[in-house]
């Protein structure tokens, strides 16, 4: 403890004591967390547990992106929000920030009340060390992945629907690796047809399923920040809550043919495409099909 005093205040030592004593964390790991920043995109079913556990773990700074307001139908899974915030029509980013601050007032929280698009994504993403995709729609997933490749940020991507969840890390490279893992486009060079996409509004979701995936996203973020290898780099975790199945799938590395992370990229910081048009869908968990 004498040694800790030099580098971390007494309150932090007390607050983080249970993780400080773990050999893989220690004072050094805790300081790495306190110096790190994460951007959580979406303060919904996935984003709430991510924000909650990253705040508790003691990150330096967390950015929260969401343009929506809290609604009653959110509360069955978006557990940082409250009935009071529904009544006051509070923005989700504010509501989540309030809850995070109550838990740990030392964390700096940036609220971004906006919809990410090709005009603002780079400016926002570049301010953070790790990006967490907790969105609910296809165009946002392409947008965020492209931005992370172009700005060289690891992206922890989660999704959930009905009883199932998926998680993987995009555009990550371990210190001893030569090449990056895949980006979202490496796995999905072409967007799915709108009629094949089911969202939570029409497919439903059991609230605790994004809870589990969000917790795992937070865990992977912490590991990256303290210098421990993440577990779902070039792997996809597939979870089926109805049968309690977890499967870890070996996926491809980056693809030379990829238009953003490949050998001859056609997408650059100056030429981000129109993502809603590319996908033929709106960047929202709504049943809107964009006419091309």
């Amino acid at each position: 403890v004498t040694e800790c005093k030099n580098t971390m205040d007494q309150e932090s030592i007390s607050r983080y004591s249970r993780q400080l004593i773990m050999p893989e964390i220690g004072v050094q790991g805790q300081q790495a967390l306190l110096r790190s920043s994460a951007l959580v995109i979406g303060a919904g079913g996935l984003g709430c547990p991510v924000i909650q556990y990253l705040t508790a773990a003691g990150l330096g700074r967390i950015g929260i992106v969401d343009y929506d307001e809290v609604e009653l139908s959110n509360l069955h899974r978006q557990i940082l929000h409250t009935e009071a915030k529904v009544k006051s029509g509070t923005h989700k980013a504010t509501s989540a920030a309030d809850a995070a601050t109550a838990l740990n007032s030392k964390i700096k929280i940036d609220q971004h009340h906006l919809q990410l698009d090709r005009d603002n994504v780079l400016e926002i993403v570049q301010r953070y060390d790790v990006v967490i995709d907790a969105t609910d729609n296809v165009p946002s997933r392409y947008l965020i992945s492209d931005a992370c490749v172009l700005l060289n940020k690891p992206l922890i991507s989660g999704s959930a629907l009905r009883w199932e969840g998926q998680l993987t890390i995009y555009h990550y490279k371990a210190p001893d690796e030569e090449n990056y893992g895949p980006c979202y486009r490496c796995l999905y060079p072409n967007p799915p047809a709108p009629e094949t996409v089911t969202n939570c509004s029409d497919g439903g979701v059991l609230g605790v399923v994004p809870g589990i995936i969000g917790c795992l996203q937070a865990l992977e973020a912490v590991k990256i920040m303290i210098g421990v290898s993440p577990s779902y780099h070039k792997k996809l975790l597939v979870f089926d809550g109805l049968v309690g199945m977890f499967r870890s799938i070996k996926i491809r590395g980056f693809q030379e043919s990829c238009v953003v992370c490949g050998k001859n990229p056609t997408i650059s910081k100056d030429s981000l495409p129109d993502y809603e048009k590319f996908c033929g869908m709106a960047a929202a968990d709504k049943c809107i099909t964009i006419k091309l």
């Binding site: 907790a134 999704s159 199932e164 497919g203 070996k250």
Partner: protein, 99 residues
Amino acid sequence: MALTVILEFLGGAEFLFGHVKHHTVSIEKGENKLNISQLLMWIKENLLQERLELFMQGCTVRPGILVLVNDVDWSLLGELTYEIEENDRITFISTLHGG
């Protein structure tokens, strides 16, 4: 000669196959090998109950479905040309986007 293959449909892809996630099938293939391209044709003719366009596009799976062979991305194994072995488990996972 027949080949036993385990087929799995996950992430919602099972809705196109009578809501059944796991199928063990026996495919008559004579003396020939069976690759995934041929397996897809077999599935189309024998298993797919409705709305082909939600599963296939042209001669391959539609965008948004990942194909796995024994829990490995088919992209690492030759995709459509991978030759299926006895008791291989071929999984089709629909990508989720919700959150």
